[in-house]
Symmetry: C2
Subunit: 351 residues, 2 copies
Amino acid sequence: MKRDAEFMPSCPIPITEYPHVLMAHGGGGRLMHQLIEKVFLSSFDNPILATRHDSATINPGGSRLAFTTDSYVVQPLFFPGGDIGTLAINGTVNDLAMSGARPLFLSAAFIIEEGFSMESLWRIAQSMRKAASEARVELVTGDTKVVDHGKGDGVFVNTAGIGRIEHSLVIAPSSVRPGDSILLSGDIGRHGIAVMAAREGLAFETTIESDCAPLADLVIQLLEAGIEIHCLRDLTRGGLASALVEIVEDTRYCIHLNESVIPIHEDVQGACEILGLDPLYVANEGRFVCILPKADAQRALHLMRSHSIGAEAVVAGDVTDGSPGRVTMTSRIGVERIVDMLSGEQLPRIC
Amino acid sequence: MKRDAEFMPSCPIPITEYPHVLMAHGGGGRLMHQLIEKVFLSSFDNPILATRHDSATINPGGSRLAFTTDSYVVQPLFFPGGDIGTLAINGTVNDLAMSGARPLFLSAAFIIEEGFSMESLWRIAQSMRKAASEARVELVTGDTKVVDHGKGDGVFVNTAGIGRIEHSLVIAPSSVRPGDSILLSGDIGRHGIAVMAAREGLAFETTIESDCAPLADLVIQLLEAGIEIHCLRDLTRGGLASALVEIVEDTRYCIHLNESVIPIHEDVQGACEILGLDPLYVANEGRFVCILPKADAQRALHLMRSHSIGAEAVVAGDVTDGSPGRVTMTSRIGVERIVDMLSGEQLPRIC
């Protein structure tokens, strides 16, 4: 088909400043948000995309559905507590869960580097089978591509997911109100440190395992108990800090955290100190925050702690009035500070 | 989460024979089918996946939907007639169309190599915007990952798509009957040759342009006209030959083609002769076959030829009795031969 010459608007990211894509453009911080906003959202502008959720809410006929996609490029492919296969299932299941949807169907697309070990590919497929079964989703369609040796990195996996929204809440930053409580589902920082340690061959006294886990079951339990959830966010790239800053940005409320109650396992804390990392920004794959009315907080906390993936849940902070929206934290020694988003990320390629 | 040691079946592809993934495992031929069958289908076994369609039919509540995914790894990223962006939209739209579904929503996931040109990324996003608008689909959710320089190839794009199935036919190889006609929607081989020429810097007398185009509109017109479509297949990796062999395999009918009526543009034919390629195996991105009762064939042909993307449509052959299912062709000089699937593909990374 002949394409007509057509006016193309010029690139909205100043190419004198950023002529090339940097690792930081994929790091979950400020630069990634700018890239997504200016290059992708401005091109594909539509009301559904404009909600900027982890998953889109669509209604192709009958039920409200959540629809989401994620590519997984983690290195190394295998790490304590999981591999790229478990990640590819749980990550997408969790994006659906963050809309309060019941995950049902997943696609799986593989970009394999020529020369990749057949045995490793098989292990990854088996991990996906197991994780899908645990999360009660079905892998119903797929794709396989092979790229030349040196043009990939072992294997990249993309999963897209469809879930059914069975509640009538609007689970979004726009539903958050001053006075709400911030529930954190467990300890933070394990996934990022587990991957980092495996990548760099670091040995700590104990093996730190990824927290990679499916979150939908717990979220659905909360909804079925009638908890009025205002907002959910899983704490992947950019960690707890970036997730909360993303929520409050462009709003007229603030989030205040108490550092002393945020659970961080001793070995993770130690590893972060050695490596000079702030656990607030380290990625998790089985942790989320739930923002909800204070009146529901204790009941929700009890439900979380009764579930295997929420055993260490805490009320980590609350929502206060204040504009522009920002995140503040009272540190362990009682000092209050602003929590901002990093420009890139401390640890690239952890998901 | 601690994972229990668990029995893992050993890899069903003999790793003594194929210890590593080869380019041919992604080429649309015999080896790719073996990989998908033995590694992925055996792991993710479920009734929906077992139908082995380009897209899965799901019913998450209310409407029957088609759900599909494809990653695009074409090199070069820009070629006459399109780029990886147009391909990523039309390819997935076409997979939905091959279920007779109306494409509605797409996801877009980018794996970008560090150092990739920001301007090129913008051009690709703009191509996607334009192609999505032409195909009347909305890009509603996305993901961005950046991998280290040397661990990718510019950019890989994955799109997953959701369409609504508004007919009650079973469009599948199982619906094909002896006596059916094979309609081919137009000339073959242009996409593969356009990409190949761009990749190798080959200059022919005329610039051969990809046939990349969205097929859903024409398919929906056929359905709305009451044409009883038995099977649809787009002619991507592996070309016309592989698509037809895929359809007849494991069935009790054969397909017979007349080579002399298959449209191949002179410049494509010339390029194939110079390059030693068989156009039957060269990929297309805007061509499909429609298998339907002979009684409907002339009416469907007329509808196809009235549509811009089907102007050169022909009745390319018919379905006959015979087991095991295979594809035969009467050549231009009247010799009959068997058309089989290649083990890999003649041209890698054309989609």
